[in-house]
Amino acid sequence: MILAAQRFPPPEFSETGHQLPGFTAPAARALSLERLDMAVLIGALTLAAWLAFRQRSRRGLVWLGIFSVLYFGFWRKGCICSIGSIQNLALGLADSSYAVPVIAIVFGLVPLVVALFFGRIFCSSVCPHGALQDLVLLKPVTVPVWLEHPLRLIPYTYLGLAIIFAATGGGFIICQYDPFVPLFRFSGSAAMVLTGVGFLVAGIFIGRPYCRFLCPYGVLLGLAGNVAKWRVRITPADCTQCRLCEKSCPFNAIEPPPLAAPARNVAGNKRRLTWLLAAMPVIIVLVGWLGGVTGTTLARKHRLVNLAERIQLEDAGKVTGPTDASAAFRTSGTPTEELFAAARQLQHRYILAGRLAGIWIGLVIALKLITLATRRPRHDYEANRIRCVACARCYRSCPEELKRLGLPMPET
């Protein structure tokens, strides 16, 4: 990997008079190539849906995944990606002066629209991040349920933060902390390269760790997929309740039919549910307040607030030596009062945004606790609409599917 830090000043040619060539910026991606990207995305989504629902072909999805890693990952350098494009959309909604690029709109919205009909088909084999993790999964281990559920809340939080930062001009954190783009580009900061490698190594044992426990776009796809008309149906016939599909899913996405609770637990469960329903507004308000409290800290991510705090500390003599940013500001001639006023305004915006994000996260937490306390009537083993990424692993684990295909039952 070529680390971003491996840069150095140009040689000095003051005595020879040699003129250094000026900096050049790489040309923007040609419009025709952008159109090709959009066409490939739509084609890949169509193909993925056909392979997952019509062909029920795991092998086909694997090949499509390899293509996506090569095309959307290594060839397009992972940008623009659907995950990051939600930040463009958020900024576009918050800042009327920002024109969202058409390609960002297409990459951000098309997979979501497709998810409304076919669930998380994008995750199955079109997203290069998901496909890469899917390909490295060798020996899956089951993440315990008690850990799985709290970890599944992280993407909701990450989504809230990403939208806050994007909408307030604090930066595109999904892109800044994307662990796989540096791998696709063979370039990036040492920390992010190591993070990417770490995710891949973890991904050998834990199915799609980024998709399950971090990806903010997966949250939106999951919510859209919850109402999808077409979804993964594990068995083509009646479920024999053999549990093979449950064991075949490395993502804990297959839910068994609920067992009848022991009689002594029923009353306790009802009481717990009542308490949780009553506590729901409290949880929402509490986490919303917490979000507001962290707003000031979050505001530091914004360069202006960061600069204002630095200037304040320097003026108070609490830090020594200017940073590049503070030195540049001081020579700009802009009065510090203007900077402070702008920073204060931003702090207020972050506090407000933090409250909204907190309310969102509080709502998710409350609903998660309520979901855990309730049992939804279900007769067969089913793929969870939010969690299932349509990888098609479960199809061939079902004896009924094997029977349909005329394949022999494997030996145990």
Partner: protein, 547 residues
């Protein structure tokens, strides 16, 4: 029994795995090594560059630096190339590992036997759900705890609100030496004769500095060998409101002549604070209440007659011209300090000899420039960052009169030599005259003509645009104080304390004289119908009958 292909795949997976691990380790080591020995980080290069700054003509040292530079660059490129190739090899190795490991796993995978799992147990699943709830709750608690910890216990205090003083406010005051534009011209003032002394107040310490005025406050500086002081007087009553000592350890008083003294630089104010520079090197800022805000020593400022340049003010910064020694010595510089804190914002070297002129902020083509004069250049800077904008080589000797913008022409003085009309933004000298060249007092302009008085009292009126003499008049006095224009009145204050009041225009017309009764060297300051004059002992406020 495994087939040969299975065994080969297994062996390949092991070999590829080891290869990937080794290569990853090598890459990591290379990255760490690269961080400590690149051109950017090389201590040796930094040390050699420092040495070169001390010995700029050492050719052996230069050669050494060049060789080292080349060597480090070659190393860096080699390492980059190695990293790129190793990364590709790493990817290839990883792909081979994945393929062979997948093959091995697929071939050895046992299809699970559901019968061996036994029946699902409700208690176990209920317990599992309960643990999930506990897990979520614990997760919330952890996140909340982290969020509260991440938030500073003491939130940053509300940032101080200090709205910038508007340009209009600044122009309405007389905030600096020779007024807001440094031209010594108050077009809206009317100090027509006759005058009466409205008040007269003794100044506690001597000084050559002129008064500056903001609203109803008059500020002055004074100094002795043991202390530097700033004074605030009430403009209406003349009452000394406070006299503040510059805090900090006072440097020894510099050697100076009696004609310059220990408090020649005029203070400057931005309407919030007053800033003063003293020849011993002390710079200080005071609130209007007299409370010190900051002070620092920027010395030494000593030069042959004593330091006399008044500071200029631009937006949020104090601009101090420090010209010392010969031009070749490289001691002259321009310094910008943050007005609020005194922190140094930047400084630039000036290729000039020692001078006693004050920098002036002028506006040209909608942009503000800092205009300076010293042997041999009229030099303009960007007051924001100190970048040089233009220079004209025409000056000589010990420059003391400050430059002035007369219409579109900069008038600069080379004492004992000539007065020059310079076209700003170019290298053009439009005109020159050796008639009536001042040595201490600065020229003044009514926008069309400029007026200057030589040491013997010869007053010259010159058309700044055409470069033609308009008139001259012998006044018969010696003048240090720079002349001032108030409305259509030209005021010249002689060293003996006699104010010559003339009408500006195409011909000499004396309107009258006024005697202050003591020596006067500071420039008079007109405000409305009043004129503030610093004498050797007293500060005077005279009022016009035109009131």
């Amino acid at each position: 029994m495994k087939s040969l292909l299975d065994q080969l795949a297994f062996a390949l997976a092991i070999a590829a795995g080891i290869f990937v691990l080794l290569l990853a380790g090598l890459l990591g080591f290379n990255a760490v090594r690269g961080k400590v020995s690149t051109l950017v980080n090389s201590r040796q290069v930094v040390r050699l560059h420092e040495e070169l700054r001390r010995q700029p003509k050492d050719e052996t040292l230069k050669q050494h630096i060049r060789q080292l530079d080349l060597q480090l660059r070659q190393e860096t490129f080699y390492r980059l190339s190695l990293s790129q190739n190793a990364s590709r090899a790493l990817l290839g190795g990883f792909v081979i590992f994945l393929l062979s490991a997948h093959w091995t796993r697929t071939r050895t995978k046992q299809f699970p036997n559901p019968l061996a799992w036994g029946a699902r147990k409700p208690e176990q699943e209920t317990r599992s759900t309960r643990w999930a709830q506990i897990g979520v709750t614990t997760g919330i608690a952890l996140v909340a705890f982290t969020a509260v910890l991440a938030t500073p216990v003491r939130l940053p205090e509300p940032l101080p609100v200090e709205l910038p003083v508007s340009d209009e406010e600044y122009r309405q005051a007389w905030p600096a030496f020779r007024g807001p534009t440094g031209a010594g011209n108050a077009a809206d003032a009317n100090v027509a004769l006759p005058w009466t002394i409205h008040w007269k107040t003794p100044v506690p310490l001597p000084g050559m500095s002129s008064p500056v005025i903001w609203s109803n406050s008059v500020f002055l500086t004074g100094a002795s060998a043991t202390e530097d002081r700033v004074f605030r007087f009430d403009a209406d009553t003349g009452k000394l409101l406070w006299s503040a000592v510059v805090p900090g350890t006072k440097p020894p008083a510099p050697k100076t002549t009696d004609d310059t003294g220990l408090a020649a630089p005029t203070p400057v104010t931005d309407g919030r604070r007053v800033y003063a520079v003293f020849p011993d090197g002390m710079v200080a800022a005071f609130e209007f209440t007299g409370k010190p805000v900051w002070s620092k020593n920027i010395g030494p400022l000593d030069n042959s007659y004593g330091y006399a340049a008044s500071p200029a003010f631009y937006r949020d910064r104090l601009l101090i011209q420090i010209d010392r020694g010969d031009a070749e010595e490289g001691q002259s510089k321009l310094l910008a300090l943050d007005a609020k804190t005194g922190r140094e914002l930047w400084q630039v070297k000036r290729p000039v000899a020692g001078s006693w002129t004050s920098p002036v902020i002028i506006e040209r083509n909608g942009q503000q420039e800092l205009l300076t004069c010293a042997n041999p250049f009229v030099l303009a800077y960007n007051p924001v960052d100190g970048a040089e904008l233009w220079r004209v080589k025409c000056l000589s000797d010990d420059c003391a009169p400050s430059p002035v913008l007369a219409g579109n022409v900069v008038v600069a003085v080379a004492p004992n030599n000539a007065v020059f009309g310079v076209q700003p933004g170019t290298t053009n000298v439009l005109w020159r005259t050796d008639e009536g060249v001042p040595d201490a007092s600065s020229p003044v302009s009514d926008g069309v003509r400029c007026y200057f008085v030589d040491p013997n009292g010869l007053l010259t009126c010159w058309n700044a645009t055409t470069g033609k003499s308009v008139w001259t008049q012998e006044l018969g006095n010696q003048f240090y104080a720079s002349p001032t224009i108030a409305g259509g009145t030209l005021i010249l204050l002689s060293r003996k304390g006699v104010a010559h009041v003339l009408a500006t225009g195409e011909s000499y017309r004396l309107l009258g004289k006024f005697e202050f009764g003591e020596e006067c060297n500071a420039s008079p300051v007109p405000r409305g119908h009043r004129l503030f004059v610093r004498g050797k002992q007293n500060l005077f406020c005279v009022e016009s009958a035109a009131k």
